[in-house]
Symmetry: C2
Subunit: 202 residues, 2 copies
């Protein structure tokens, strides 16, 4: 199954992962899909690292499935990182919750691969079982878009680690990324930054 | 003329700008196209800031034209930043040099707008005169791709400013971006980083 055409490329692809609980409740969270490249692209291997205590992990343990939603909507990334998405933002793909507005959906089977001893995080190997591309486009690189993603990662990591030592460094990087968004971003990136800054204050 | 569909969106679009001299010699350099958004997208205004002493500036002064080449090929960005591209990488679009491999081309008329008193840099207003989309795709966000662009910007700015005070800060950021490329990038991003690190040593 060719999932490169659906946007999952080499290295780590930042997507919004949707899952559902055994009782069918949907969840969305920004997560990286890890592609281990093989000479023959049909033999690429896909993995995902899931944090212990996360809703995504417990859902995957219950259903053994997740969907990767490929999008470059920074507002969606930031919202999914910090709050439950509204039910109206979900659609169904082979009966599995996905995000309506995503550019593509890749539904994966998840097989437990490894539990990291130090962190308690879980590694799952992913096998694509269905793919749909909704929208192709051409878009120039926007540094503001990238900066929102970096800022969101810093903000969510802080919430997990609470390491006071790194606080000054974190604030400096957040300020750098905010300046890049202000200078280079479009309206959507500026909106995402505002949400992020609100969350970061709490 | 709708150039949003060709990838020039809100904020600053990072593209490779191709130009030619009066005698027809092509040049390529990574440059940001600035979009000033209007409620009615047909009335958006486009600008570009060109550095004094740059080949792009003298070419635009000679021919009053430039082409924006939309691509996310980081190797192309890094090469265009530091060295002349091979003639074989150019093609012609309405007789104007563009990059064969770009996802889209937008040919602009350039009208002198302003000379910045302090920097001596020039601002030109751009009017699109021809557009071609060669390839649409869907691609997940890759932090490695973004990190190469940020690292390239830092490296080229240093070459221009030579401010020793910022050196430690610059090296720290370069190391951060290199770690992101190593962790998240694909082969193309890692190749771009290697070129960048070679150039950065000189």
């Amino acid at each position: 199954m060719h999932i490169k055409e659906a946007g999952i490329g080499e290295g780590i692809s930042e997507v919004i992962v949707t899952t559902k609980s055994a009782s069918g409740e949907p969840n969305a969270a920004p997560i990286g899909i890890i592609t281990i490249t093989n000479e023959d692209e049909n033999e690429n291997k896909y993995f995902v690292k899931l944090y212990k205590g996360s809703k995504t992990l417990s859902n995957v343990q219950e259903t053994n499935k997740l969907a990767a939603n490929v999008t470059d909507d920074t507002v969606l990334f930031v919202k999914a990182a910090f709050e439950p998405l509204a039910e109206s933002q979900f659609s169904l793909f082979y009966g599995f919750p996905v995000l309506k507005e995503a550019n593509s959906w890749i539904l994966f089977d998840c097989a437990f691969s490894e539990k990291k001893a130090e962190s308690g995080n879980f590694l799952f190997q992913l096998t694509p079982i269905a793919v749909k591309t909704n929208r192709k486009e051409v878009k120039a690189i926007n540094r503001g878009l990238n900066a929102v993603i970096e800022a969101a990662i810093i903000a969510t990591r802080y919430a997990i680690m609470e390491n006071e030592q790194d606080r000054a460094e974190r604030e400096k990087l957040m300020a750098l990324y905010a300046r890049i968004v202000e200078k280079c971003g479009g309206r959507r990136e500026k909106e995402a930054l505002e949400i992020l800054q609100e969350k970061n204050k709490l």
